[in-house]
């Protein structure tokens, strides 16, 4: 816009334009003013904050991270005790956030794709049920859904003594869902090595198959063979090394179960609610992505004699994915950000244990909020970077 204005003044240099009639200079003055205003504003905030902190006797800085936290956390992916530091609290909270986000992303994607495809089904009933799902769940606040699953469903489960038993191995009660925990014994490393070899071999095989198909047109069932390798090789290694795995059963002792693995009700409620809520949005994205592929593509593929499944797999989905990925990315980011609602039901995520308990105990509001926001920003950037990379890989390669 300003380039257009600039031309007369540059083509007629002898004509003296007044200072405020030259857009370039005006822009410069305006920007300098803006910088001054922003700096002044920030300076005022910093000054006020320092005064306030001084009068309240709060010291600034990140020293508090090495102090002893002194509170327990119900779910820790790494070793953590009450004598651990606040820094460790931060890491525990971060890992819990990542755990529930990853679990939520996986389930929401699967559920969302199923429902999105179901909405386009030529079965009237299935399509209607799928759209009812979408309309119901995306129009109810997520926090309410979390409360519903936590307080109305999971808190209504029986006490540990009256647990619901499934095959005498799984126990469901108000304290969580208990299941046997696999304990790898000596020699189990061999299984991991076998898995690694199988994954690498599958990757090489699939690359080789794609090259050969491009060159000669011959096909080889590389995906089935890969699946066989990835499942079979570790199993062989497992049997060969004498089954070095012990299952630890959960046992009722006193008022609660000991041993085994448990999914806390907080995690379960958050996971279910996040997945169901986000799946409604993903379903809409998937539906519009598939509808964006023109009907001519489907017809052309059918005319070539491809079966219905192949039309979907080879023609429709690869084109739909390109439309789907950008909005899908923002849904993943929303899910990660929404996982912070954990704090409302006490799932020990980053906001709950760090921006909640740690902030209350130390009073270091600025540092804590700053670190929390930075984590979410970083996670957002990482996820969008990954999805951008994936998107550019999937994008149309035009001649």
């Amino acid at each position: 816009m300003q380039d257009a204005d600039k031309t007369p003044s540059s083509s007629l240099p002898e004509q003296k334009t007044r200072f405020w009639h030259d857009p370039a200079k005006r822009a410069l003055v305006f920007q300098i003013l803006l910088v001054l205003v922003v700096l002044g504003f920030v300076g005022m905030i910093v000054q006020n904050t320092l005064n306030n902190l001084e009068s309240r006797g709060i010291t600034t800085g990140f020293d508090f991270l090495s102090q002893q936290a002194g509170f327990g956390i119900t779910q820790t992916l790494i070793e953590y005790t009450e004598s651990s530091s606040y820094g460790r609290t931060f890491v525990v909270g971060l890992l819990n956030t990542i755990l529930v986000s990853a679990l939520g992303v996986i389930v929401a994607t699967i559920l969302g794709f199923l429902i999105g495809v179901a909405r386009l089904s030529n079965n009237w009933l299935v399509a209607k049920v799928a759209s009812a799902y979408v309309e119901i769940f995306r129009n109810i606040p997520l926090l309410l859904q979390i409360f519903f699953w936590y307080f109305a469903v999971l808190q209504a489960l029986p006490s540990p003594r009256k647990s619901i038993e499934i095959w005498d191995t799984f126990y469901l009660n108000v304290r969580g869902f208990y299941m046997p925990q696999p304990l790898p014994q000596e020699g189990f490393d061999l299984v991991w090595i076998a898995l690694l070899i199988a994954v690498v071999a599958s990757y090489v095989l699939i690359r080789w198959n794609k090259k050969r198909q491009d060159a000669t047109g011959q096909r080889f069932p590389a995906y089935w063979v890969s699946l066989g390798m990835i499942l079979g090789l570790p199993l062989l290694a497992f049997l060969a090394s004498g089954s070095p795995l012990v299952w630890e059963q959960p046992v009722l002792k006193g008022f609660n179960f000991r041993g085994g693995m448990a999914i806390l009700p907080e995690l379960a409620a958050l996971w279910v609610a996040l997945s169901i809520y986000t799946a409604a949005f993903i379903a809409e994205i998937v539906r519009s992505g598939i509808e964006a592929v023109s009907k001519g593509q489907t017809e052309a593929a059918s005319a070539l004699g491809l079966s219905n499944g192949k039309v979907l797999r080879l023609v429709v989905i690869p084109q739909a994915v390109r439309v789907i990925i950008p909005p899908l990315t923002s849904q993943y980011l929303n899910l990660i950000k929404n996982s912070s609602l954990a704090t409302a039901i006490g799932y020990p995520d980053l906001v709950s244990v760090f921006a909640g308990t740690t902030l209350n105990q130390t009073g270091q509001a600025i540092e804590v909020i700053f670190m929390t926001m930075l984590v979410y920003l970083t996670l957002s950037l990482l996820v969008s970077a990954f999805m951008n990379w994936f998107n550019s890989k999937m994008a149309l390669v035009e001649r």
Binding site: A27, N52, N123, N139, P141, L144, A344, V351
Partner: protein, 371 residues
């Protein structure tokens, strides 16, 4: 040659289509039972619906208790809506003094009338009404809700609550965020590098963090940012957080609208000799705002649902007040009824608004424009 006598000279009437391809049976064959897989799917879905819906309807309507004073009124074993009906006015108005709730009613009726005026295409004077909504109504609403002048008693904000607080948060959040959003979007499309980078950083910063951390920030850090003499109301702090957060989302909606305006419009405005603000204010924004309405409504729906988060910083919106009611020892164990009521209220609002926004999108889609 004699075979020619067998040639018919008039057309036979069309035969009716086969019985099983028309009418309800034909419809069912096509849409429910067209193949083995489809039949199995239909039967399976019917079964799932049966086991889900029948007990739900039974519980919520057939066996439910609706009226009474205490939980003793709930005897039939179904839903106990008595919990909701006895507290209904609290769920709507929070702790607002009962004899003053007409002020809330009046404020929202005024808003509803003005919005309806704007939404019904046939009514005239849209410009005057929009000015009323944006500039006059906020002042009227403030005095109606808060009071303090015109002989109205002050009602402190800590007494506000329920659905009316939810609506106050959402409406103020979206209306106040709009002007900031417009400025940020213009800044993001500006060619001045410093202005542009400020706007990009601001927008991406707020879009990258969850609303809950913004609310925490507003409630914990905001008092530190201002001189110690200045104190902020809890509601005001939440609103500042919501507006800062929402203006970033609004900026992206506005940017979408601006990008949809063809370049020729900008160039024509410049050719007429309009300066930047006149070009934007008289030519581009009026066209862009029309295109932005569906986006704004969608943002409003998202904000409306997100207002439920204020319960974490201790404000009593619709969800929070029901949640608080559930902890009342007299009403323990009726959480499903409480949540169902809140879900229904939110659902009605959000579903209605999303249908309206879809209607608008279709409406605008038929016009010209390069979307």
């Amino acid at each position: 040659m004699s075979d020619l006598s067998k040639v018919r000279h008039e057309m036979l009437p069309d035969l009716p289509p086969p019985e099983n391809t028309t009418g309800p049976i034909g419809w069912m064959r096509r849409h429910l039972f067209s193949s083995v897989t489809n039949t199995v799917l239909t039967l399976f879905t019917l079964y799932i619906l049966y086991i889900l819906l029948v007990p739900t309807i039974d519980w919520a309507f057939l066996k439910a208790d609706w009226f009474g004073e205490t939980r003793d009124a709930c005897t039939s074993g179904g839903a106990c809506w008595v919990f909701v009906t006895t507290r209904f006015s609290q769920f709507l108005y929070g702790f607002y003094p009962e004899d003053l709730t007409w002020r809330i009613d009046l404020a929202f009726i005024l808003l509803a009338v003005q919005l309806a005026w704007l939404m019904i295409p046939k009514l005239p004077y849209k410009g005057i009404v929009s000015v009323l909504v944006l500039f006059v109504y906020p002042i009227v609403a403030f005095y109606l809700l808060y009071g303090g002048s015109f002989g109205l008693d002050v009602v402190e904000t800590h007494k506000w609550g329920g659905l009316s607080l939810t609506l106050v948060l959402a409406v103020i959040g979206i209306v106040a965020a709009l002007p900031f959003g417009v400025l940020l979007a213009l800044g993001r499309r500006s060619e001045m590098p410093i202005v542009k980078s400020f706007c990009v950083v601001y927008i991406e910063l707020w879009r990258g963090v969850p609303l809950i951390t913004v609310l925490f920030m507003a409630s914990v850090m905001l008092p530190l940012f201002v001189p110690a003499e200045v104190t902020f109301d809890k509601l005001l702090r939440a609103l500042i957080g919501i507006v800062m957060f929402q203006s970033a989302y609004m900026a992206e909606v506005v940017r979408g609208g601006l990008q949809a305006i063809p370049k020729g419009q900008y160039e024509a405005a410049q050719a007429l000799g309009l300066n930047y603000w006149k070009m934007m204010g008289l030519v581009v924004l009026p066209q862009a705002l029309k295109l932005m309405i569906p986006g704004i409504v969608n943002t409003f729906i998202a904000l409306f649902k997100d207002t439920s988060l204020v319960l974490i910083i201790g404000l009593f919106d619709l969800l929070a007040i029901v949640q608080a009611g559930l902890t009342d020892p007299k009403w323990l164990g009726y959480s499903v009824e409480g949540y169902a009521f809140v879900a229904f209220m939110f659902w009605i609002f959000c579903f209605g608004m999303s249908k309206y926004s879809q209607h608008l999108e279709r409406h605008f889609h038929t016009g010209h424009g390069s979307r």
